[in-house]
Protein backbone atom coordinates (compact mmCIF):
# COMPACT_ATOMS: atom_id res chain seq x y z
CA UNK A 1 0.00 0.00 0.00
CA UNK A 2 1.22 3.45 -0.84
CA UNK A 3 0.65 6.45 1.33
CA UNK A 4 -0.56 9.77 0.01
CA UNK A 5 2.25 11.54 -1.81
CA UNK A 6 3.83 14.25 0.26
CA UNK A 7 4.56 17.68 -1.13
CA UNK A 8 8.02 18.87 -0.17
CA UNK A 9 9.16 22.42 -0.69
CA UNK A 10 12.45 22.43 -2.61
CA UNK A 11 13.73 25.81 -3.78
CA UNK A 12 16.46 25.43 -6.39
CA UNK A 13 17.32 27.63 -9.33
CA UNK A 14 17.58 25.42 -12.38
CA UNK A 15 20.38 27.45 -13.93
CA UNK A 16 22.20 28.00 -10.67
CA UNK A 17 25.28 26.11 -11.83
CA UNK A 18 25.64 28.44 -14.82
CA UNK A 19 24.90 31.54 -12.74
CA UNK A 20 27.49 30.60 -10.12
CA UNK A 21 30.16 29.97 -12.74
CA UNK A 22 29.26 33.22 -14.55
CA UNK A 23 29.81 35.09 -11.29
CA UNK A 24 33.20 33.42 -10.88
CA UNK A 25 34.14 34.40 -14.45
CA UNK A 26 32.95 37.99 -13.90
CA UNK A 27 35.16 38.22 -10.84
CA UNK A 28 38.13 36.79 -12.78
CA UNK A 29 37.59 39.31 -15.58
CA UNK A 30 37.32 42.16 -13.08
CA UNK A 31 40.51 41.14 -11.28
CA UNK A 32 42.40 40.82 -14.56
CA UNK A 33 41.06 44.21 -15.72
CA UNK A 34 39.49 42.83 -18.87
CA UNK A 35 36.26 44.30 -20.21
CA UNK A 36 34.05 41.59 -21.71
CA UNK A 37 31.48 42.31 -24.41
CA UNK A 38 29.11 39.59 -25.58
CA UNK A 39 27.28 39.83 -28.90
CA UNK A 40 23.88 38.30 -29.47
CA UNK A 41 21.70 38.44 -32.56
CA UNK A 42 19.78 36.32 -35.01
CA UNK A 43 21.77 34.39 -37.64
CA UNK A 44 22.92 36.57 -40.51
CA UNK A 45 22.61 39.95 -38.83
CA UNK A 46 26.30 40.63 -39.29
CA UNK A 47 27.92 39.70 -35.98
CA UNK A 48 31.12 38.42 -37.51
CA UNK A 49 31.45 41.36 -39.92
CA UNK A 50 30.90 43.88 -37.13
CA UNK A 51 33.30 42.03 -34.86
CA UNK A 52 35.97 41.87 -37.55
CA UNK A 53 35.78 45.66 -38.02
CA UNK A 54 35.63 46.24 -34.27
CA UNK A 55 38.75 44.17 -33.59
CA UNK A 56 40.63 45.95 -36.37
CA UNK A 57 39.62 49.40 -35.09
CA UNK A 58 40.44 48.66 -31.46
CA UNK A 59 43.65 46.67 -31.78
CA UNK A 60 45.85 49.77 -32.16
CA UNK A 61 44.95 51.07 -28.73
CA UNK A 62 43.82 48.01 -26.81
CA UNK A 63 44.86 44.41 -26.40
CA UNK A 64 41.80 42.65 -27.78
CA UNK A 65 40.77 39.03 -28.30
CA UNK A 66 37.62 37.16 -29.25
CA UNK A 67 35.79 33.92 -28.61
CA UNK A 68 33.27 32.92 -31.27
CA UNK A 69 30.50 30.43 -30.84
CA UNK A 70 29.31 28.50 -33.85
CA UNK A 71 27.25 25.35 -34.24
CA UNK A 72 29.35 23.45 -36.72
CA UNK A 73 31.91 25.41 -38.71
CA UNK A 74 35.09 27.26 -37.96
CA UNK A 75 34.45 29.78 -40.74
CA UNK A 76 33.86 32.66 -38.33
CA UNK A 77 37.13 32.16 -36.50
CA UNK A 78 38.94 31.99 -39.85
CA UNK A 79 37.34 35.29 -40.90
CA UNK A 80 38.16 36.93 -37.59
CA UNK A 81 41.75 35.73 -37.69
CA UNK A 82 42.20 38.26 -40.51
CA UNK A 83 41.95 41.01 -37.92
CA UNK A 84 45.23 39.63 -36.50
CA UNK A 85 44.15 39.37 -32.88
CA UNK A 86 43.85 36.16 -30.82
CA UNK A 87 40.62 34.37 -31.76
CA UNK A 88 39.26 31.09 -30.51
CA UNK A 89 36.32 29.15 -31.81
CA UNK A 90 33.81 27.48 -29.54
CA UNK A 91 32.07 24.84 -31.63
CA UNK A 92 28.88 24.08 -29.77
CA UNK A 93 27.71 21.12 -31.85
CA UNK A 94 23.96 20.97 -31.45
CA UNK A 95 23.82 23.42 -28.55
CA UNK A 96 22.09 26.59 -29.63
CA UNK A 97 23.76 28.96 -27.17
CA UNK A 98 26.94 29.48 -25.19
CA UNK A 99 27.10 28.61 -21.51
CA UNK A 100 29.53 29.90 -18.89
CA UNK A 101 31.33 26.56 -18.77
CA UNK A 102 32.10 26.75 -22.51
CA UNK A 103 33.59 30.21 -22.03
CA UNK A 104 35.66 28.98 -19.10
CA UNK A 105 37.01 26.07 -21.15
CA UNK A 106 37.78 28.25 -24.17
CA UNK A 107 39.83 30.59 -21.98
CA UNK A 108 42.21 27.86 -20.83
CA UNK A 109 45.80 28.83 -21.45
CA UNK A 110 45.04 32.51 -22.03
CA UNK A 111 46.49 34.95 -19.57
CA UNK A 112 43.62 37.36 -18.99
CA UNK A 113 45.89 40.07 -17.63
CA UNK A 114 47.34 40.31 -21.17
CA UNK A 115 43.95 41.55 -22.41
CA UNK A 116 42.00 44.80 -22.21
CA UNK A 117 38.88 43.71 -24.06
CA UNK A 118 37.46 40.29 -24.78
CA UNK A 119 34.58 39.85 -27.21
CA UNK A 120 32.34 36.81 -27.03
CA UNK A 121 30.24 36.19 -30.12
CA UNK A 122 27.29 34.01 -29.19
CA UNK A 123 25.62 31.54 -31.54
CA UNK A 124 23.19 33.30 -33.90
CA UNK A 125 19.96 32.90 -31.95
CA UNK A 126 17.60 35.37 -30.28
CA UNK A 127 15.95 32.90 -27.94
CA UNK A 128 18.27 30.56 -26.10
CA UNK A 129 21.25 32.79 -25.22
CA UNK A 130 18.94 35.04 -23.16
CA UNK A 131 18.90 32.64 -20.22
CA UNK A 132 22.65 32.20 -19.88
CA UNK A 133 24.88 34.67 -18.09
CA UNK A 134 28.44 34.40 -19.44
CA UNK A 135 30.04 36.74 -16.93
CA UNK A 136 30.18 39.54 -19.50
CA UNK A 137 30.48 43.23 -18.58
CA UNK A 138 28.25 44.35 -21.43
CA UNK A 139 25.73 42.49 -23.56
CA UNK A 140 25.28 43.91 -27.02
CA UNK A 141 22.22 42.88 -29.00
CA UNK A 142 22.25 43.39 -32.75
CA UNK A 143 19.42 44.05 -35.11
CA UNK A 144 20.02 44.40 -38.85
CA UNK A 145 17.85 46.71 -40.96
CA UNK A 146 16.88 43.77 -43.18
CA UNK A 147 15.19 41.98 -40.28
CA UNK A 148 12.37 44.43 -39.67
CA UNK A 149 11.85 46.98 -36.92
CA UNK A 150 9.67 44.73 -34.78
CA UNK A 151 12.35 42.14 -33.92
CA UNK A 152 12.60 43.47 -30.33
CA UNK A 153 8.85 42.98 -29.86
CA UNK A 154 9.12 39.41 -31.10
CA UNK A 155 12.08 38.60 -28.86
CA UNK A 156 11.53 40.78 -25.78
CA UNK A 157 13.48 38.55 -23.40
CA UNK A 158 16.82 38.81 -25.15
CA UNK A 159 16.44 42.51 -25.90
CA UNK A 160 15.55 43.06 -22.27
CA UNK A 161 18.66 41.20 -21.15
CA UNK A 162 20.96 43.43 -23.25
CA UNK A 163 22.75 46.66 -22.34
CA UNK A 164 22.93 48.27 -25.78
CA UNK A 165 21.29 47.70 -29.16
CA UNK A 166 23.34 48.08 -32.34
CA UNK A 167 21.47 48.40 -35.62
CA UNK A 168 23.63 46.94 -38.39
CA UNK A 169 23.69 47.14 -42.20
CA UNK A 170 22.64 50.81 -42.11
CA UNK A 171 23.91 51.11 -45.70
CA UNK A 172 20.81 49.10 -46.65
CA UNK A 173 18.40 51.22 -44.59
CA UNK A 174 17.00 53.16 -47.56
CA UNK A 175 16.66 50.07 -49.76
CA UNK A 176 14.72 48.22 -47.04
CA UNK A 177 12.70 51.34 -46.05
CA UNK A 178 13.92 50.85 -42.52
CA UNK A 179 12.31 53.20 -40.00
CA UNK A 180 14.71 54.21 -37.22
CA UNK A 181 11.81 55.69 -35.28
CA UNK A 182 9.76 52.46 -35.35
CA UNK A 183 12.80 50.37 -34.40
CA UNK A 184 13.53 52.72 -31.51
CA UNK A 185 9.94 52.43 -30.30
CA UNK A 186 10.24 48.63 -30.37
CA UNK A 187 13.49 48.71 -28.40
CA UNK A 188 12.10 51.17 -25.87
CA UNK A 189 8.96 49.05 -25.41
CA UNK A 190 10.91 46.02 -24.25
CA UNK A 191 13.98 47.67 -22.69
CA UNK A 192 13.15 51.22 -21.61
CA UNK A 193 16.19 53.48 -21.62
CA UNK A 194 18.47 51.30 -23.74
CA UNK A 195 20.72 53.18 -26.14
CA UNK A 196 20.54 52.32 -29.85
CA UNK A 197 23.46 52.89 -32.21
CA UNK A 198 23.26 52.54 -36.01
CA UNK A 199 26.27 51.26 -37.95
CA UNK A 200 27.41 49.92 -41.26
CA UNK A 201 30.52 47.81 -40.81
CA UNK A 202 30.81 47.85 -44.60
CA UNK A 203 30.85 51.61 -45.24
CA UNK A 204 32.03 52.66 -41.79
CA UNK A 205 28.90 54.74 -41.14
CA UNK A 206 28.28 55.14 -37.40
CA UNK A 207 31.38 53.14 -36.49
CA UNK A 208 32.99 56.15 -34.83
CA UNK A 209 30.05 56.62 -32.44
CA UNK A 210 29.88 52.91 -31.76
CA UNK A 211 33.60 52.65 -30.92
CA UNK A 212 33.31 55.80 -28.80
CA UNK A 213 30.42 54.18 -26.91
CA UNK A 214 32.51 51.06 -26.20
CA UNK A 215 35.45 53.17 -25.05
CA UNK A 216 33.24 55.13 -22.68
CA UNK A 217 31.92 51.90 -21.19
CA UNK A 218 35.46 50.57 -20.75
CA UNK A 219 36.64 53.81 -19.12
CA UNK A 220 33.65 53.77 -16.74
CA UNK A 221 34.33 50.16 -15.80
CA UNK A 222 37.94 51.02 -15.02
CA UNK A 223 36.89 53.94 -12.84
CA UNK A 224 34.41 51.65 -11.10
CA UNK A 225 37.08 49.01 -10.49
CA UNK A 226 39.69 51.46 -9.21
Amino acid sequence: MLREPRLVEVRRNVLKQNDVLARVLRERFREAGVFVVSLVSSPGSGKTMLLERTLTLLRERYRVAALVGDLATENDAARLARSEVPVRQITTGTTCHLEATMVERALEGWNLTDLDILFIENVGNLVCPASYDLGESLRLVMLSVTEGEDKPLKYPTIFNSADVAVVTKMDLAAATEFSWHTAEESVQAVRPGMQMIGVSAKTGEGMHDYIAFLETQIAEARVGAA
Binding site: R6, R11, R12, C96, T157, R191, P192
Partner: protein, 116 residues
Protein backbone atom coordinates in the same frame (compact mmCIF):
# COMPACT_ATOMS: atom_id res chain seq x y z
CA UNK B 1 15.51 24.97 -28.47
CA UNK B 2 17.50 24.99 -25.25
CA UNK B 3 14.61 23.54 -23.26
CA UNK B 4 16.07 20.05 -23.48
CA UNK B 5 19.28 21.13 -21.78
CA UNK B 6 17.20 22.96 -19.18
CA UNK B 7 15.08 19.84 -18.65
CA UNK B 8 18.27 17.79 -18.18
CA UNK B 9 19.52 20.25 -15.54
CA UNK B 10 16.14 20.15 -13.85
CA UNK B 11 16.13 16.35 -13.74
CA UNK B 12 19.68 16.31 -12.34
CA UNK B 13 18.66 18.67 -9.54
CA UNK B 14 15.49 16.67 -8.85
CA UNK B 15 17.49 13.43 -8.68
CA UNK B 16 19.82 14.99 -6.11
CA UNK B 17 16.86 16.12 -4.01
CA UNK B 18 15.10 12.77 -4.43
CA UNK B 19 18.11 10.98 -3.05
CA UNK B 20 18.09 13.27 -0.04
CA UNK B 21 14.34 12.95 0.52
CA UNK B 22 13.93 9.25 -0.22
CA UNK B 23 10.83 7.75 -1.84
CA UNK B 24 9.58 7.92 -5.39
CA UNK B 25 9.15 11.26 -7.14
CA UNK B 26 5.65 11.65 -8.56
CA UNK B 27 5.89 15.26 -9.66
CA UNK B 28 8.26 18.20 -9.87
CA UNK B 29 6.86 21.71 -9.48
CA UNK B 30 8.55 24.52 -11.33
CA UNK B 31 7.95 28.25 -11.21
CA UNK B 32 8.49 29.85 -14.60
CA UNK B 33 8.47 33.55 -15.42
CA UNK B 34 7.61 34.99 -18.84
CA UNK B 35 11.09 36.58 -19.03
CA UNK B 36 13.02 33.39 -18.26
CA UNK B 37 13.47 32.75 -21.96
CA UNK B 38 11.95 29.30 -21.74
CA UNK B 39 8.98 28.02 -23.72
CA UNK B 40 6.61 26.15 -21.44
CA UNK B 41 5.35 23.59 -23.98
CA UNK B 42 8.86 22.84 -25.21
CA UNK B 43 9.99 22.31 -21.62
CA UNK B 44 7.06 19.98 -20.85
CA UNK B 45 7.87 18.02 -24.00
CA UNK B 46 11.58 17.85 -23.18
CA UNK B 47 10.96 16.83 -19.58
CA UNK B 48 9.62 13.39 -20.45
CA UNK B 49 12.67 12.74 -22.64
CA UNK B 50 15.07 13.98 -19.96
CA UNK B 51 13.47 11.68 -17.35
CA UNK B 52 14.11 8.52 -19.33
CA UNK B 53 16.32 6.01 -17.52
CA UNK B 54 16.49 8.18 -14.42
CA UNK B 55 14.84 7.92 -11.01
CA UNK B 56 12.40 10.55 -12.27
CA UNK B 57 11.02 8.40 -15.08
CA UNK B 58 7.24 8.58 -15.14
CA UNK B 59 7.06 11.73 -13.02
CA UNK B 60 5.04 14.78 -13.99
CA UNK B 61 6.30 18.31 -14.45
CA UNK B 62 3.90 20.89 -13.05
CA UNK B 63 4.64 24.41 -14.24
CA UNK B 64 3.33 27.34 -12.30
CA UNK B 65 3.43 30.68 -14.14
CA UNK B 66 5.20 33.45 -12.27
CA UNK B 67 3.82 36.92 -12.96
CA UNK B 68 5.76 39.65 -14.73
CA UNK B 69 6.24 42.31 -12.07
CA UNK B 70 7.79 45.71 -12.76
CA UNK B 71 8.41 48.70 -10.54
CA UNK B 72 6.83 51.96 -11.62
CA UNK B 73 9.19 54.79 -10.65
CA UNK B 74 6.35 57.32 -10.85
CA UNK B 75 3.63 55.49 -8.90
CA UNK B 76 6.37 54.10 -6.63
CA UNK B 77 4.76 50.69 -6.64
CA UNK B 78 5.02 47.25 -8.25
CA UNK B 79 2.76 46.51 -11.20
CA UNK B 80 1.87 43.13 -12.66
CA UNK B 81 1.95 43.29 -16.45
CA UNK B 82 0.20 40.87 -18.78
CA UNK B 83 2.90 41.24 -21.45
CA UNK B 84 6.55 42.36 -21.64
CA UNK B 85 5.75 44.64 -24.56
CA UNK B 86 5.55 47.35 -23.66
CA UNK B 87 7.26 47.47 -20.27
CA UNK B 88 5.17 50.38 -19.10
CA UNK B 89 2.98 51.15 -16.11
CA UNK B 90 -0.65 50.49 -17.07
CA UNK B 91 -1.84 53.27 -14.76
CA UNK B 92 0.37 56.20 -15.71
CA UNK B 93 2.16 55.00 -18.86
CA UNK B 94 5.66 55.52 -17.47
CA UNK B 95 8.34 53.16 -18.88
CA UNK B 96 9.37 50.59 -16.28
CA UNK B 97 12.91 49.35 -16.91
CA UNK B 98 13.10 47.67 -13.52
CA UNK B 99 11.83 44.09 -13.74
CA UNK B 100 11.14 42.87 -10.21
CA UNK B 101 9.80 39.42 -11.07
CA UNK B 102 9.32 37.29 -14.14
CA UNK B 103 12.75 35.77 -14.73
CA UNK B 104 12.12 32.79 -12.45
CA UNK B 105 13.22 29.35 -13.55
CA UNK B 106 13.03 27.72 -10.19
CA UNK B 107 12.12 24.35 -8.82
CA UNK B 108 9.75 25.02 -5.94
CA UNK B 109 8.51 21.63 -4.77
CA UNK B 110 8.44 17.91 -5.30
CA UNK B 111 5.72 15.35 -4.71
CA UNK B 112 7.20 12.24 -3.20
CA UNK B 113 5.48 8.92 -2.52
CA UNK B 114 6.83 6.80 0.29
CA UNK B 115 6.62 3.04 0.16
CA UNK B 116 4.55 1.68 3.03
Amino acid sequence: MHELSIAISLVAIAEEEAERLGGKVIAVHLRLGPMAGVVKDALLFSYAAACQDTALEGSRLVIEDAPLVVFCPRCKTDRVLSSPQPLRCFECGTPTPKVVGGRELQMVAMEVEDAA
